[in-house]
Amino acid sequence: MATIYVDDRPYEVDPGKNLLEECLSRGLDLPYFCWHPALGSVGACRQCAVKQYRDENDQRGRIVMACMTPAMDGARISIRDKDAAQFRAGIIELLMSNHPHDCPVCDEGGECHLQDMTVMTGHNYRGYRFGKRTFRNQELGPFINHEMNRCITCYRCVRFYRDYADGKDLDAFASHNHVYFGRHEDGVLENEFSGNLVEVCPTGVFTDKTLKGHYTRKWDLQTAPSVCAHCSLGCNTIAGERYGQLRRILNRYNAEVNGYFLCDRGRFGYDFVNGDRRLRQPLLRGQPTGAPEALRRAAALLGRQSRIIGIGSPRASLEANFALRTLVGPRNFFSGMAAGEDHLVARMLRALRGARVRTPSLHEVESADAVFILGEDVTQTAPRLALAVRQAVKQAPRTEAMRLRIPRWDDAALREVMQQQKGPLYIATSGATKLDEVATASCRGAPDDVARLGFAVARALDDSAPEVAGLADGDRALAEAIAGALRAAERPVVISGSGSGGEAVIDAAAQVARALGRERTADLCFTAPECNSFGLGLLDAMNTSEAFQRVADGLVDAVVVLENDLYRRAPGAVVDAMLESAQVIAIDHSAHKTVEGAAVALPAGSFAETEGTLVSNEGRAQRFFQVFVPEGEVKPGWSWLMELAQAAGRNELATLASPDDLLAALARAVPVFAPLPEHLPTAAFRVNGEKVPRQSPRASGRTAVQADVTVHEPKPPADPDSPLAFSMEGYPQQPPSALITRFWAPGWNSVQSLNKFQSEVGGALTGGDPGVRLLEPGANGYAAYSEEIPVPFERRDGEFLVVPLYHIYGSEESSAAAPAVAERCPEPYAALNLEDARTLEVEEGALVEIEFDRALYRLPARLSAGMASGVIGVPMGIAVQGVDVPAWSPCRKV
């Protein structure tokens, strides 16, 4: 700790930080542009000027940039000093001399850091009488809008896009006051994290194009804390609604999880909520009907004597799943995961609940200094994790550079030393991955070979691990190298997941972590298939195949399917047969084949219209809140289940009336969930006796929005299920961290106001980051080495092993229904190694025929040097769905 004096007041500060960070952390207002807590300082904008004095007798002082000056013990600075204030106002005046008269038509308006800083410095009239510089804009694809005139040349965009996210197609062009930020030519921004430009750019150059399609100002959005439902990482988001439509997703900072950044699937995948595939009315065999009629029919199917089962869903909340489990009884409840998926999740959980390994948070992955990825293409299956891995790769060289006594925040200097050096990252997968470009080494193999490499690494780390028989010399050397890098690292992380479809791959990753964890617990990070896969895994239910079996055996009269398209879990013929032989009641937010084939379909709320709890891949249980009250007869899944039970005269759910009740009952029924009710905010929670408002105090149009229907303003909807209110009334100050509905502070309208919500800049949210970790290393849990090492993969004549491939846009069900994301979905294909393609005599784009899991597919071939030999990659959710892969298949040229 050090003491600095700001305007003659002493402050305790961290000497490892710079003056700007420390001033902001102490709640002082100091304007800035180019510094970003995650990107560090470069001193490009000259906005953060303060006066620094040598000692208390120094009257003159000198102007320094706060972001480039360490917070050294005894430093004396003044923010209020006249010269410094004038300097800052002068800088803004210069920046504004070319700024267009755009605020009314600028999507950043009302949440613009440039507006805030201009007001803060007091500059108001343009004194420069000459022409304004102008630029032409670029068309950057479906996510990002470009309006280059508004740029203030802070360089944040390229520093995020290139330096942080390793993107290639955004750069600074031209020179002097003509510097241009864009692509070399019009075209889609390729990086998976381009959406963060919206928040990183302090002006309206880069704005959210999907928001523009239904534009609303920040102050008019009704917002609630949410959790991204598009992959298993559970990034925290803020979802905003206006006029009954979900309008945008913003990042919700959580130091442990997503920090400052989201991926584009999470940010732009929300539009399915407004889509035309939404179910807004109950259906009887596909025909719209009213709720009473639908409930009556459904109740008739669920009579006391009928044998019913329930199929839950890894994309539905714990509450909804548990309501179903309670309704049908644990012995009739199925997780909704396909058999393969279920086994993978069970294996991952077993490893994580065992001794010696610990699941790291995304933040911990970011600070790892050696990474080994087994079988998972994280960029496509858990995108935000790939961004974390990209930071981990920079960790080792940065630590090295910091030996030169360069502080952590001095980004430009660190990069100068680091250059292109990369820390150890090893990747073993069946197909090429985007992370290969930053990997120390990446190797390709069928899932079994990937697993064998993992087992070999474990063996190289620990002699007591079983030997891998018949390992090629090259592989052994690679395994030695990987083991060496992991051993040498201070915080190694092993990453794997369900993406390869191979159970052996998961076991191998666990083996490496266990071998590493002999001395101290090792970090083992698994990605799961969906946003609540781990939640369902912890519920420990049977899988969907077992449900199908039970129906086929004639032991079932009716099936309740909760938020699940069974055609994504099993081959079509199997699901068809089930829909034939049992009466199905489907509850979901969107129409799909299962809903269409169901006897009764009930419209459930999406993540934005309900609240619930999801368990992320870290084992972190997090609550998302309802953003708005949906139109039509849409209700939360658990609410439909309660009504169903009541209509059918069943009393299983009679004592449970709210999500809180469900969670409490879940905590009693399944011990692993015991901490939940205590740690997650309940509906009864109040701050100073008040609820937390979902609307800003400036929300407009209250007496006009519905005036076309009636001039008598209806009462705002009540929310008995959460501590939030559908209103602008309520606790006016900062709520507890789990209930942050928006980032805003007086004078800070943009997302930069986040500084005011953190205990210190870049640190935890005040009061701690939300979420409860459910998986901690068990002292005496399972930790034995697995002896089941697969034999080497052998290619077969005329047959190929079909392996799953994933795409960030398209493989995940709900986001793929959002128009902007759908625009980025690839066409179906089958990926083949060049060699294999030559043997089969297929060329790029030629149709190949593959047949597995009782279905025949004709797909255009995509030749890829990055595919392992003897395997065919098919994009999941795009070319195929509901299949159990890896599987052998013949392959012919059509």
Binding site: P100, G131, F135, E147, A707
Partner: protein, 171 residues
């Protein structure tokens, strides 16, 4: 006593003053153009809608009686897809006019807004939009703003230089 007499005297003098009563409605009073009555949405000198859907009027309105949805036309102009004022709530404070950066929303001297039915005091865009510039004849937001619209390219606004050639390194 004295004050009573003075009062009577004053009242007596008023017998010889000109009456101020106006025979409304037969006779209309003169109201200055800046009188705050019925609200209209005006057009710019080119005849296109002035409102760009910036939501500032609705944010400024103390009784929250303005609601709208912003949209963008093919030609790049922002406009309100719909625009509603609930005059049964409006207090004619004029804050919306003051907030409007484009002179689109203006209060007019028409105060005759009584109705028996509150519902008919809800005005939609078609009821609000007039065919003229209102009080501010010259102003055209798009001639000042940096946004390009069809017919006005980048660099063609007032006080703007031609777009930069990004490929040139010359000063």
């Amino acid at each position: 006593m004295l004050s009573m007499l003075r009062t009577i005297w004053t009242v007596f003098l008023h017998l010889f003053r000109r009456p101020v009563t106006v025979q409304y409605p037969e006779e209309k009073p003169y109201l200055p153009p800046r009188y705050r009555g019925r609200i209209i949405l005006s057009r710019d000198p080119d005849g296109d809608e002035r409102c760009v859907g910036c939501y500032l009027c609705s944010a400024a309105c103390p009784v929250d009686c303005i609601a709208l949805q912003a949209g963008e036309r093919e030609d790049g102009r922002r406009y309100p897809e719909w625009f509603r004022i609930n005059f049964s709530r409006c207090i004619f404070c004029g804050l919306c006019e003051e907030a409007c950066p484009t002179y689109a929303i203006q209060l007019t001297p028409d105060f005759e807004l009584c109705d028996f039915d509150r519902q008919s005091l809800v005005y939609e865009k078609k009821d609000l939009l007039i065919d003229g510039t209102g009080k501010y004849p010259g102003y055209n937001f798009y001639r000042v703003a940096g946004l390009a619209i069809s017919g006005k390219d980048k660099g063609a606004s007032e006080n703007e230089d031609k777009p930069v050639d990004v490929k040139s390194l010359l000063p």
